[in-house]
């Protein structure tokens, strides 16, 4: 049976206590995207500054949520800063694959009913984000972990359409 220590790894609690890239960016030039978890009421705001070459120049996180959603957002912000949109998409895919082992339907591109491979695509490193692997043992919390990522994806679409 999974224990709390599987879920609340030290690195997660660290990001929860000391969230990285917390704050706001001026809009425009940045975009502001809100994400909601309708189940628990968590709200997240992603401020995104994309440069002309499609590189995430800056990112800030606002909103409120539980330790899982907040730490996931914090780790995400650190992981995607300075990356190209293509790199971020690969990372997002890898993160969702990790989250979706027991719930592949969360991944829009995943084949329904099939477990996704746990191995990462070449060149993609999850780093600190690996700490969130334990969340899949608590299926109810997967949506907490993916909230920031879904909001980021929306934000990128907004920023690139703009």
């Amino acid at each position: 049976m999974p224990g709390l220590e599987d879920l609340y790894r030290e690195i997660i609690l660290d990001h929860y206590r000391n969230p990285r890239n917390r704050g706001e960016l001026e809009t425009p030039p940045a975009t502001r995207t809100e994400g909601f978890n309708p189940l628990c009421g968590d709200e997240i705001v992603v401020y995104l500054d994309l440069d002309d070459a499609g590189v995430i120049e800056d990112i800030r996180i606002g909103g409120t949520g539980c330790s899982i959603s907040q730490s996931s957002a914090s780790m995400m912000s650190a992981a995607v800063k300075g990356k190209t949109v293509a790199e971020v998409e690969a990372l997002t895919h890898a993160f969702k694959a990790m989250m979706s082992i027991h719930e592949s339907s969360l991944d829009a591109e995943g084949e329904s009913g099939e477990d996704l491979p746990t191995e990462l695509p070449e060149g993609v490193k999850l780093g600190d984000l690996e700490a969130l692997r334990g969340v899949v043992k608590f299926p109810v919390r997967i949506k907490c972990a993916t909230l920031a990522w879904n909001t980021l994806a929306e934000g990128i679409t907004e920023a690139t359409d703009a």
Partner: protein, 421 residues
């Protein structure tokens, strides 16, 4: 374990005996006895309710209101007996015609909005709600507003989440209906129904009561309250899911247009149209949830055997015990939203533990087999007023005892030490 606990008397009835009637509560989760503190979401079911439904399926399962054979007649009789029984339980003057069976309270409230509201509301009218409302008593009015263009107003709250009636006369001026909860599912706030109904009627407005959290926990006399509609669900009052009730005044229900169309709700159908059936069939399209209606009858019998005054006494007592013991143990680190006086509220405690998100709190509580609910409880406008995104909600019912409260307190202490940095 806290030492205070088990000898503390709880008024009302023998809770241990009651608990023994609920098979689900006999089990252990993660090696600990289950502490079910989420009855505001859905209650557990006593064996008699489960048995009543099983017996129906095993002995008289047949569609109602049509067959002439013996078991079809028995099923119809059982359904109609439940209608009358439920009606008596809530003080309905004419249970045979005024008790409408629906899927749940949400459908009941939608019926009022879509049928009465569609026929009676338009530009220049107002619907008055309160900031305590559940989404089920908000969204149906918004849906209709988009079509009919009336105004929606809100009765604000005081700091302890009671209705602030300072401007009630102004708010009621021009309102055609006041739709409000009898008891908040978040803060346990009991609203002054009789007083508000009198004021609403004086102002020419009807009153639609969301009685979901009230009917299961307090003696309900709708005729004495004076309201015009009332909605509640079976599954929050020891009955099964899938059965709800709308009660309405006969003359209002009679005048209202039909809601869902189909079999059972018609008097006649031709190639040119249909004529609706008389009450209550008029609002009961399709095969009803027969087993669930019979299960609800058994639930009402069970509650009446305990006595609703005793049920209320027990809940005030356990709520007072919980508020006192939690406050003593956690002090300012724990906020309990809503009225401070247990007699002013139902057995619903929305908790906020300093520095711990409700979702995380509930996760730790789950390790202790303590079942509470984190989230916005389908009352996002109220969450905004309370200044929080979510709460962890513990709610009590007839089978909860002080051991359950003590287990909650111990689990909260564990969460506190786990998340204290």
């Amino acid at each position: 374990m806290s030492a205070a606990s088990t000898t503390e008397p709880v008024a009302g009835f023998d809770v241990a005996k009651v608990k023994a009637d609920f098979p689900l509560l006999q089990q252990e989760i993660k090696g600990r006895p289950i502490r079910f503190l989420d009855s505001a979401a859905s209650s557990q079911k006593p064996q008699v309710v489960i048995d009543a439904m099983t017996t129906y399926y095993e002995t008289i399962n047949a569609n109602v209101h049509r067959g002439v054979y013996a078991i079809a007649e028995a099923a119809t009789n059982a359904l109609e007996a439940s209608r009358v029984r439920v009606g008596r339980f809530i003080g309905a003057p004419n249970p045979e015609t005024e008790v409408i069976f629906t899927k749940n309270a949400t459908e009941s409230l939608n019926l009022v909005a879509q049928s009465w509201g569609r026929a009676n509301l338009g530009p220049g009218d107002a619907v008055l709600l309160t900031q305590l409302e559940h989404h089920a008593n908000i969204v149906p009015w918004f849906q209709l507003q988009a079509e009919k263009g009336f105004e929606i107003r809100w009765i604000p709250l005081t700091d302890d989440a009671q209705l602030d009636l300072t401007d009630i006369d102004t708010l009621l001026d021009g309102a055609k209906i006041l739709a409000l909860t009898a008891m908040s599912n978040v803060t346990g706030t009991l609203t002054p129904i009789t007083e508000l109904t009198r004021k609403a009627h004086d102002a020419g407005a009807l009153v639609c009561l969301d009685a979901c959290q009230y009917v299961p926990h307090l003696t309900t006399d709708l005729a004495a309250m004076g309201v015009d509609f009332a909605a509640f669900s079976g599954h929050k009052m020891l009955g099964p899911t899938g059965i709800g009730v709308l009660w309405g005044r006969e003359e209002l229900l009679d005048a209202m247009p039909t809601f869902l169309g189909g079999g059972g709700m018609i008097l006649n159908v031709t190639l040119d149209g249909f004529m609706p059936a008389a009450l209550p069939a008029k609002f009961e399209a399709g095969t009803p949830p027969i087993a669930e209606i019979i299960g609800l009858h058994a639930a009402v019998d069970y509650l009446d055997a305990l006595g609703m005054d005793a049920v209320r006494e027990h809940e005030v007592s356990i709520t007072a015990y919980a508020m006192r013991s939690l406050t003593e143990r956690f002090g300012d680190a724990l906020t309990i939203h809503g009225p401070a006086e247990p007699a002013m509220r139902g057995g619903v405690l929305s908790l906020a533990m300093e520095g711990i998100h409700p979702h995380d709190l509930s996760q730790v509580l789950d390790e202790h087999a303590v079942c509470v609910r984190p989230g916005h409880h389908c009352a996002k406008p109220l969450m905004k007023v309370l200044g929080v995104g979510a709460t962890a909600r513990a709610s009590f019912y007839v089978y909860n005892d002080t051991d359950d409260v003590d287990a909650l307190a111990d689990a909260l202490a564990d969460a506190q030490s786990f998340f204290t940095f």
